[in-house]
Symmetry: D5
Subunit: 121 residues, 10 copies
């Protein structure tokens, strides 16, 4: 698990003097429910204001795919992705919105934010 962060490659932000927003929407996220062993599906939306680094898109895709056969809860996976990206990119602002498909007649959304001043370990 602690190795997953290494999948995230970065490139230098060429416009660090300007605050601007990058958004990547990945509708093909899938992991496994730790209780039932059945697959879960979500659209994972990443929005951030870069500081010195941007996430490389293909590496980000491989990072998301690495959750494919892991058993993990909705709330945990969303917070964990935020923590990994914040640790690697040190962005000025970041938000993850995870929209999970219907389970038991109920659909769920988890939305987590990070602001620069908040410390991350």
């Amino acid at each position: 698990m602690e190795d997953r962060k290494k999948l995230l490659e970065t490139f230098e932000n060429a416009y660090p003097d300007r605050d601007y927003v990058i958004e990547h929407t990945a509708p093909e996220f899938t992991s496994v429910c730790p209780k039932t062993g059945q697959p879960d599906f979500a659209t994972m939306i990443l929005e951030y204001i870069p500081d010195q680094l941007c996430v490389e898109l293909k590496a980000y895709k491989i990072y998301l795919t690495s959750f494919r056969n892991d058993g993990i809860f909705y709330e945990s996976v969303t917070n964990m992705i935020l923590d990994d990206l914040v640790a690697v990119l040190q962005p000025r602002y970041m938000r993850i919105t995870a929209e999970f498909n219907v389970r038991g007649g109920i659909s769920s959304v988890i939305e987590v934010e990070h602001h620069k001043e908040e410390s991350i370990n």
Copy 2:
């Protein structure tokens, strides 16, 4: 009626140091109109910022299903669900939006909010 709250199971919030939003949308809520005895139907949207506890999704579904054959008004059921969830979860913020189907050519929405500082008994 006073037993219904016991249906709500919880699990510990693993990220209590961060404010984040959990949203569960249940389009299959149904109860009974106390005046006509005919069934009512609604989409029940729960949004909250957890403090120490999150609601377990399957238990929440069973809790909602428990209203299936109860006669209860739109305004009452929406406020009652908020009160039950606030009492059990003690969230930092919570909102229930209940979107009821057309009756007599009119559709209705009830929207109720709770903020931590407001006291709930």
Copy 3:
């Protein structure tokens, strides 16, 4: 169960010399899964060409509502509603299309037809 058919009231078709189509769409059908005990939800679409009789709309609604707490499979309930309506109305043509909500990530549709020449007991 054998009494349910009696809920269906009829009125005389005032235009029996002309073939025409009547369609009633009921998006609030609900019954109970006989395996899990959890509620099922469907949109029930009735299309028919009346012969001498039409189904009274309010009685039809009460008939559909009578399934609310019955445990019954998708395929059975759709065929049973067709059989009941055909027995009472003796229509020239009838089709029931039942569109069931997502269960286990899968939504289902059952479509059953009746033509006059086919005998119903």
Copy 4:
């Protein structure tokens, strides 16, 4: 009631040598339910292949508006409008599709057709 047909004005079809289709969609049809006294609402769709006569659009609108305060059932009003238009226009083909709003959680459509060979009195 027998006077209503007189509201329908016509103009000569300038292209009688060619079969072509005219469609008028009127989403603002309203009449009154003869049982409850409450208003009903429908979208009234008229499609026809003219022979020697076309219906004048403004007169057709006034004709539809004349049902505003009449108590009349779904099936009757749809067949009656077809009969009136067929009697006045003598079209090669005509279809009325009446899409009624939700009542008691159920929406209804009535679809009636006329072909030239069928005699209308």
Copy 5:
């Protein structure tokens, strides 16, 4: 006209200690244009924060239906409905949004608000 307000029945707000929003959307409002005598159609959206009283839904429907054959302008009917509801309910906040169908190629919306501090006679 001054009697119309009497059609509005109320019931006691069971949750007066909490500000919450009730919304009723009525897509079947119709009145008559005082200039042309032709019917007008609108979707009438009522949103309010109740104080001690809520409007009874069936009575509200009958109240709206009472405009069916009255000749009245868009701006007037919207303001008049707000005044009647404010006088009867004394709400903490109320908004009426009336969305009128296309006339002469133009559709219109009238939006009127009331806040408690504003005096109504």
Copy 6:
């Protein structure tokens, strides 16, 4: 009026050995109502199977624009456009579908077809 046809330029069909369909959808057609003097608006859909000639797109646009200030009825303009295009292109098949905007609460569609065997003068 008889000059309008001259606006239609053509180019040679490079694939005359194969039946294939060309469709041009023009949502910005406008002419004038001969009774009221007010502008009418339509989406004009042309579908055809070319024989030896195709219509040049820019010329077709100018042809449609030439109706801008002419007073002409729905049924006439649709048939006239078909006649002009058939006379110039001699297609194997052609259909014009004219979808007119709402007037007096009613929208209209006129659909006219031409098959090769039918003679056009």
Copy 7:
């Protein structure tokens, strides 16, 4: 051109003690491009808070129609309509949003606002 303003008729605002919003959406606006001579098409949205006067809807339609054969740029026609309406109505607030159809693969929106304190000549 300076006469166009005279087309705008008004009626007295019956509710001047209350700020409320009137919105008229006209999807059939058309003028002519001064460079190419080809017609332009737009949806013209007018929103305003009336002071003592409201614009009469039919006169407003005729006013908009008066641009039909005028050559005028997007930015100019939107500002000009605002200036004319402000001069005639003296509203508390007004906004014009003009949504122009695709030209050269690009669609355009011009949005212009007026607040009472801003002086108009």
Copy 8:
């Protein structure tokens, strides 16, 4: 691979005297591209007319999930699912429509049908 078919459980068709259609839509199908090793995603639509047997819905879901980590081409997986279901259910008619997500800017659909008279080994 040859064991996968054993995952498909069946139940007896209670209405074998009537031809009717069962449709199951599974938007969460995923397998792996055998060339790139990257996951593929599809909506898998099953339509069939049962003979003596119907497929049990939960077992069908587990069957579909069994492809999750298999490397297999679009055309192969669609035909293979048809063959497995036909072998187990012996239906009167069956169709599989597999709608695959965008890859390289292109989305794909594979549609395979089986009719009873066609022999399957």
Copy 9:
């Protein structure tokens, strides 16, 4: 130009005993208008029933991309793509539907079909 066909790679159809449909939708097709030099854009939809060969998806994408800077008319490019694919795949059936974006206020669709019995050189 005559080399373009070589870009199309194939793989063997593993299910040649069964007629089935393969559909590839490419919304990012672009070429250049030979008259104006400006780019054209289309969604290119390929449907076919394979005989012994299927088109490899990545090679098909590169084939479509090869038109990027070519000046070519709508009708020609659509027929040419059909001819190339038919020559390489020898399918039992094939259809190309090319949906071109708005130009001069008009959008266009070209639809071309091939059946096995028709000879292609």
Copy 10:
């Protein structure tokens, strides 16, 4: 590259005393991925409040088309277009929103803003 800015032609803002918004949406932007050599596609949305100058629409289109065969990253092209337009127009406010099509199952949006006080070289 430094010449591209010269493609941007301007015209004088005729209403410099009023802040208003101009928006141009170009859904046909395409450039080339510098890593893979494959084309990228985006909808490019420009919003600005002009000062003394407006961008001429046809010149802006030609400017956007000039990127057609350039290899450039998402983040770079969006910032570069903002810089070019700000340098030429000196607007009071400007925002570019670039919505890129799906690549590797992920769609991306880049949003960049400029306010007058920020210095641009």
